[in-house]
């Protein structure tokens, strides 16, 4: 079986986790794609850590308001009922446990629920931005990542080697191969994304993976048809 990296599958699967009314923070990059696949009958309240609730889609070209951006400084819109606030309130919402889900990208994630994404010593030091507060404060932390690094190494580790952003905070990891739950210092494969099989995934993953009896296959062609997207 040939592996083809697929970020859209990750975004599509995560988008189906939420229910109407959930307060969700989507990180910059891959997690932002999740917003494109939320089902029409589900209304989320998106939180943006630079100071808003009710984050809406990008504006039409020519209608950008440069006082209204997301945490990646791209122009956005605000949905009816949304509001703005300062950074202390924003992180009060985050740290105070008022965000249901945070979705963020990773460099490494391990079976203890540790996550690294802010620093590669000696190489690249982007900084943690809001990620440490988001992982410490959100009810459910979802790591969204391609399963493999460009080198082919699995990003799901037994133990992270990079400086940690979050210690034992990750609940779910969604890759382009499957959905994993962190429990008891191991990854439980809850869903595998066809055509990959649990055995194929386990063989190529550095971390310890448990395949429970109720682990189920998911086909994005069948379960998430293209219509309505």
């Amino acid at each position: 079986m040939e592996y083809v990296a697929n970020k859209d599958i990750i975004a599509k699967r995560i988008a189906r986790i939420f229910k109407t009314g959930d307060v969700v923070n989507l990180g910059i990059g891959l997690p932002t794609l999740v917003g494109n696949y939320v089902p029409e009958d589900v209304t989320l309240i998106l939180q943006s850590e630079n100071g808003m609730l009710g984050l809406g889609p990008a504006p039409m070209k020519g209608e950008e308001n440069w006082d209204l951006t997301n945490a990646g400084s791209a122009p956005v819109t605000v949905r009816p009922g949304g509001c703005f606030f300062d950074s202390a309130m924003s992180f009060g919402i985050i740290r105070g446990g008022h965000v249901d889900y945070t979705v963020l990208g990773v460099l490494e994630v391990d079976q203890e629920g540790n996550l690294a994404n802010y620093k590669i010593p000696g190489k690249m030091v982007p900084g943690m931005g809001g990620a440490m507060d988001l992982t410490a404060g959100s009810r459910v932390v979802i790591a969204a990542t391609l399963h493999f690094e460009p080198s082919g190494a699995s990003r799901l580790k037994r133990r992270c080697t990079l400086p940690l952003t979050a210690v034992r905070e990750v609940n779910l990891v969604v890759t382009d191969l499957g959905l994993f739950e962190v429990m008891g210092d191991r990854f439980f494969l809850r869903e595998y994304f066809e055509p990959y099989t649990p055995e194929w995934i386990k063989e190529r993953t550095q971390a310890e993976i448990v395949i429970p009896n109720d682990c189920r296959p998911v086909s994005f062609e069948k379960v998430f048809p293209r219509t309505g997207e």
Binding site: D67, T69, F85, F91, G129, V167
Partner: protein, 228 residues
């Protein structure tokens, strides 16, 4: 109400002295005081300590620089206290070359440290950063059955902030997500310079709509540059 002086950006920049600590409002240049940043760049004041959410952006490939990144490019900071420097390659270069030091602070912690500096708190207790490099050298305090890091207040000699509108008394109203760190920094510096797009008479802003009370603001500068 006492009216606040409205001064030029150059006059504002001249109030910042070599070696000062400088808070700069904005989030990746959204809500940053671009007019005063440009004047400070012109003044060339150096040896400054920057306290800002990020260090703006600077892309070596395209040469594009935004926000406080213009002052980074002129090497005006000996130290930067930020939550994110990922979009500024020049900050990373200066840090790796030992030309400046960078203290990375989690964004929510940075916001609360600035707020603590402004509102008379001796520090804050936060779970953010426990077990990470952020914990190093800090006191861990147990409250009940939970652990917290003691994070200390931040103050500055000068804060340069940006608002949408001010009245002559210095009451401020911010726009959308351009609010971010601005109201917090307004409370935490000895001298607060507010750059604003519109200045109205005292009484022309509904007291219900004031975001930053006038007493925090020392001088006003009319914004001439809204994006940079």
């Amino acid at each position: 109400m006492v009216k606040k002086p409205v001064i030029s950006a150059a006059e504002a920049a001249a109030k910042v002295r070599e070696g000062d600590s400088l808070m700069v409002g904005g989030f990746l240049a959204c809500g940053s005081p671009h007019t005063v940043i440009q004047a400070l760049m012109g003044a060339g004041t150096s040896g400054l300590t920057l306290i800002c959410n990020d260090s703006g952006s600077h892309d070596f490939k395209s040469g594009k620089i935004t926000g406080v990144g213009h002052m980074v490019a002129k090497k005006q900071f000996k130290k930067m206290i930020c939550s994110h420097i990922g979009l500024n390659q020049e900050t990373q270069r200066q840090m790796n070359a030992g030309e400046t030091t960078v203290d990375l602070v989690p964004q929510g912690t940075l916001a609360e440290r600035v707020r603590a500096g402004g509102v008379g708190l001796g520090g804050i207790l936060t779970p953010t950063g426990l077990g990470t490099e952020v914990e190093q050298g800090k006191q861990v305090i147990t409250v009940g059955d939970r652990l917290f890091l003691l994070e200390l207040p931040l103050k500055a000699d000068v804060a340069i902030i940006k608002a949408k509108k001010a009245d002559r008394a210095g009451n401020l109203v911010y726009a959308a997500t351009a609010r971010n760190f601005n109201p917090l920094m307004a409370m935490a510096a000895s001298l607060v310079i507010a750059e604003v797009e519109e200045i109205v008479e005292v009484g022309d802003i509904d007291p219900n709509e004031v975001h930053t009370p006038s007493i925090f603001v020392d001088v006003l500068v009319k914004a001439e540059r809204l994006e940079w």
